[in-house]
Amino acid sequence: MTSHILSYIIFTPLIGILVIAFLPKGQGEKAKWIALATTLAVGLLTLVAFSQFQLIGEYQMVEEAEWIPQFGVQYIVGTDGISFPMVFLTALMSILACVASFGIKERQKEYFVFYLLLETGMLGTFLSLDLFLFYVFWEVVLVPMYFLIGIWGGPRREYAAIKFFLYTLAGSLFMLLGILAVYFGSTPNTFDLRVIAEQDFTLRFQQWVFMAFFLGFAIKVPIFPFHTWLPDAHVEAPTPVSVILAAVLLKMGTYGLLRFNYMLFPDAAHWFQPAMFVLAVVGIVYGGFVALAQTDFKKMVAYSSVSHMGFVLLGLAALNEVGLRGAMVQMFTHGTITGGLFLLVGVLYDRAHTRDMTHFGGLSGQVPVYAGILIFFSMASLGLPGLSGFIGEFMVLLGGFEVRPIFTGVACLGIILAASYLLYMIQRILLGPLNEKWSELTDINGREIATLVPLMVLVVLIGVYPSVLIEYVAPTLDKLNMLLNPPDTLLSSVGGAP
């Protein structure tokens, strides 16, 4: 019996869309409750799938159906240790960002329709095992995101939305070329990921297609120098959309690298390794320095993402077991930590209507609970041990150090930089004498705390006992590691040593 649970997960938001679409005029207020119920339902379904999830390296809960048989396009969804944590993260962040969206007052029906469509797109992206299907979902994500930024965003929303849309689209065109190349390069011609993974592509072919995919994903991650859409999109997007963007959308890029570049073109991955090291280290250090120069709170967090996603790439570049696990952990924790930071930016912005850090000061006495939570997430972000950010960074660095100690040493500058920009932020906003302008500022409210507490629990849990996450990703990553470093080459290299 095939399980349909993954399809339910992917398409449940569409039901919510339908219900919202049939809401009578003037009842827009109800849309948020329907959206929340829908995201909660998706969350529940995800938990059901979680209970069925097995600690094996194979794809599970697979579901297949013919779609366009003339071109070998199929509807295949399935999950494994790489995608499931991302699905979990997506379901969770969708609920939390939905609660954070309750403050949206304009055109609520449309907002939540786009919001739920976005959720379907993200879940489908992570769960597709057919390249064509994947591409469709990948592009589906762009459309609601474009409108969410372009309609509900800040002053320069149109510029940011178009930039986001076109930039990602440009990248995905290269990916489409790659997909077509893989389709025609495989026998029989297929989009089925599982079949393609069995093919023996020549190195030259792998290199070209690797590059095509890499470009598409690099823009999404974003990897330096393709990152400049990110700060604009983040700054203009409304808070919940920023949260989703940072927590989930960026992960689609690194997820794609793992799922496609690494699984399909392992030889090219080795060939590309030095370049990835350079890009990762440059991203970490560069992103950190630019974040340090920011005075806009949100832009600082946006650039910190560039730096932190660089750590994911560093772990991937290591091409070893520890590095891959570290990259996976870093992906998950960056989602929770940066998602939390963006929520906190929103909390402050909703009250103060400015994000310029130099306008604040001394808020720690005025809004003590907010201050405590902000310090918590800052510490998590700068990699304080005991919180999850450290685990990801540590494993990534350990993996990188085994391969390229010097590069990894330079990447450690990113840790100092993270401490610099986050502590400067804390000082500018929370410490020092109170700026009298803010003596009326109210502390964070219950609804806002409710969006942050689940994240804090996860951050502490993974930080204290990382095995809770790692045991789920390990079997799949070990299998991938075997693919990247086949045991026979390992044996010969050991045997070749004097």
């Binding site: 930039k163 390990a474 070990d478 590691n481």
Partner: protein, 639 residues
């Protein structure tokens, strides 16, 4: 062993106290202090029987798999060996006393419960460091202490100076910690283990990779440089005195900063295997000891003097480690924890009673604050190295080791011993003796909850050196060196020199400052240049600001400009280029392509307009044209 696993609870009680005080602070209010002190007391209750067990010859060790790294599992657990037991004794005892003292000191503070929450979190971190059985857990707890240090230095964060100081402390130690982290990575890559218990064998196995061992040892030592405030990362500690005084005592004198020395002790197998690393450590320690003592000579803030004194004493311990005398370093760590905590708490009592930290405004406090003065005197004698107080025995051990290691180190450290005695008694004389210099200050003795811990620590400052003295047949050294007992030579030359230097320093201080500030100022004028160097702390802060901090931020701004102009410029340029190109092609489309089409249409129209003129519909006209054509053809055809 079931009972020994209670060791896990030692740090967990303070953690629980932290959670209660931070989450329910507004309900527990003034009782917060009792929750924290109670948690510490419970930790003591579990720790001390175990310490007794360690003294009895047992080593408690337990671990569990914490993180699967692929191939290898990282294990976490506790290790209670003589080294850990020593630290555990110091931390639980001194830590609890300081928290009791803080009840009186912090009375009436607005954020009373928060303060004790932080103290408890600190105790959790420190106890975790002490009992951890591997470098990674050590590092994790070490960073928790760093966080507490940050929070506590910035406790009065509405003051800009405190806000700056806490940031500076965190960032400076972070630099060292990154080195420490890299050291952990290097060690794991080199030896495949992070466990203290396996370190010795792992180093033996990898004897061939001498360079890697040296690099690893030095990277780990970076953590010590940051945390134990060694040159060149010592700059944060004096500023850290912005925190409340019990914090200065607990974190920045007795325990946290000593954790750096403990780290060196834990990494000792690596250092023993690398003479170069040991030498670097000896040099850093000696330089730190001497320079910090020089700065302490001229400081006028009572807590700043003690801060530089702490740096100097930590330098002593580190130098001992480098000179091959790990045991002496740990011995000094223990004695120092008692007398330096006492000095800080005494200073806190003075500040509490007078409301000032400036030495120039004090004087003549002895009759008004008897308990404080007497205990302060005991601590000053201990740090000055007067026998039979604690500091003498441990300092003598270090000087002995330096004497064997190299003359230069010995002379530098001996000079430091002299300077230490001098600045401590300068402090003592200026504070407690002579006449009151500021008539507005009405000093009073502090409450019992503050003086009580002072007396307990004073007793400790007298006694804790004895187990390591020849009077007790160097029991303490044998305890730490368990398994490989060594000879304990007594070098009377070194001992007597050290006593003489200490007494000379004390005497000089009495001579100079007995009558107030006058003679000292005269001396400063005649030694203008050295005085300026000392007053300005070797201009190290200024150098960092000019050559590190400013370029760091300038680089950030430069890269941001680059990001906006070049990287994003390229994107926008591509966008604008595409837009421009599409305008050109739009123009081309409109005027050339479409123009051609329209032109052809227009031309056809034009032609048809002309030809239409012929289509008149009259037969006569057509016949006329035919006729004209025939005439035309005939004319040319015939010719």
């Amino acid at each position: 062993m079931v009972t020994a696993n209670l060791a896990y609870l030692i740090p967990l009680f303070p953690l629980l106290a932290f959670v209660i005080n931070i989450l329910f602070g507004r309900y527990v209010k003034d009782k917060a202090c009792w929750i924290s002190v109670g948690a510490s007391a419970l930790s003591c209750g579990i720790a001390w029987p175990l310490i007794v067990g360690v003294i009895g010859g047992t080593t408690y060790h337990h671990d569990f798999a914490w993180l699967a790294l692929g191939g290898v599992d990282l294990k976490f657990g506790y290790l209670l060996d003589p080294l850990a037991a020593t630290l555990l004794f110091v931390v639980t005892l001194v830590g609890t006393l300081i928290q009791i003292y803080a009840i009186g000191y912090m009375k009436g503070e607005a954020r009373f419960s928060r303060f004790f929450a932080y103290l408890s979190l600190f105790m959790f971190g420190m106890l975790g460091v002490v009992i951890s059985d591997n470098f990674l857990l050590f590092f994790m707890c070490w960073e928790v202490m760093g966080l507490c240090s940050y929070l506590l230095i910035g406790f009065y964060s509405e003051k800009d100076s405190a806000a700056n100081a806490c940031k500076k402390a965190f960032l400076t130690t972070r630099v060292g910690d990154v080195g420490f982290l890299l050291g952990i990575l290097a060690l794991f890559t080199l030896a495949g283990t992070l466990s203290f218990a396996e370190l010795h064998d792992a180093v033996e196995l990898n004897r061939d990779s001498q360079l890697m061992i040296t690099v690893t040892a030095l990277l780990l030592f970076c953590g010590t440089i940051g945390k134990s405030a060694q040159v060149p990362l010592h700059v944060w500690l004096p500023d850290a005195m912005e925190g409340p005084t019990p914090v200065s005592a607990l974190i920045h004198a007795a325990t946290m900063v000593a954790a750096g020395v403990f780290l060196v002790a834990r990494a000792y197998p690596l250092i023993e295997a690398s003479a170069q690393a040991a030498q670097v450590i000896a040099i850093v320690g000696t330089v730190t000891a001497l320079t910090a003592a020089c700065v302490a000579l001229t400081a006028t803030d009572i807590k700043k003097v003690l801060a530089y004194s702490t740096i100097s004493q930590l330098g002593y311990m580190v130098a001992a480690m480098g000179c091959g005398a790990m045991v002496a370093g740990i011995f000094h760590l223990m004695t120092h924890a008692f007398f330096k905590a006492l000095l800080f708490l005494g200073a806190g009592s003075v500040i509490h009673g007078t409301g000032t930290q400036d030495l120039r405004e004090m004087g003549g406090l002895f009759p008004k604050m008897k308990s404080t003065a007497w205990t302060f005197l005991i601590a000053s004698l201990a740090i000055a190295g007067v026998p039979p107080l604690a500091g003498f025995w441990s300092k003598d051990e270090i000087l002995l080791a330096a004497h064997q290691y190299g003359n230069l180190y010995y002379y530098a450290l001996s000079l430091t011993a002299f300077l230490t005695a001098f600045y401590m008694f300068r402090l003592f004389v200026l504070t407690f003796l002579g006449k009151p210099r500021n008539p507005d200050i009405h000093a009073h003795e502090s409450p019992k909850s503050m003086t009580g811990p002072l007396w307990v620590l004073a007793v400790g400052s007298i006694l804790v050196g004895l187990p390591g003295s020849f009077l007790a047949h160097n029991w303490f050294q044998d305890f730490l060196n368990r398994g490989h007992e060594v000879e304990h030579p007594v070098n009377y030359t070194v001992m007597i020199t050290s006593i003489a230097l200490g007494l000379a320093g004390i005497a000089l201080a009495f001579l100079l400052y007995r009558g107030g500030l006058g003679m000292g100022e005269k001396l400063a004028r005649s030694l203008a240049w050295p005085h300026r160097v000392s007053m300005n702390k070797f201009w190290i802060d200024e150098a960092y600001a000019a050559w590190l901090v400013r370029p760091w931020h300038a680089l950030a701004r430069l890269l941001f400009g680059l990001d906006a102009k070049v990287v994003d410029g390229a994107v926008n340029g591509t966008g604008a280029g595409t837009l421009g190109g599409s305008r050109v092609s739009g123009w081309f489309d409109k005027y050339i392509i479409d123009g051609t089409v329209n032109f052809i249409a227009a031309f056809t129209q034009f032609c048809s307009d002309i030809f239409r003129l012929f289509q008149t519909g009259f037969i006569q006209n057509y016949l006329l044209i035919v006729f004209a054509a025939v005439v035309f053809i005939l004319y040319f055809g015939i010719r």
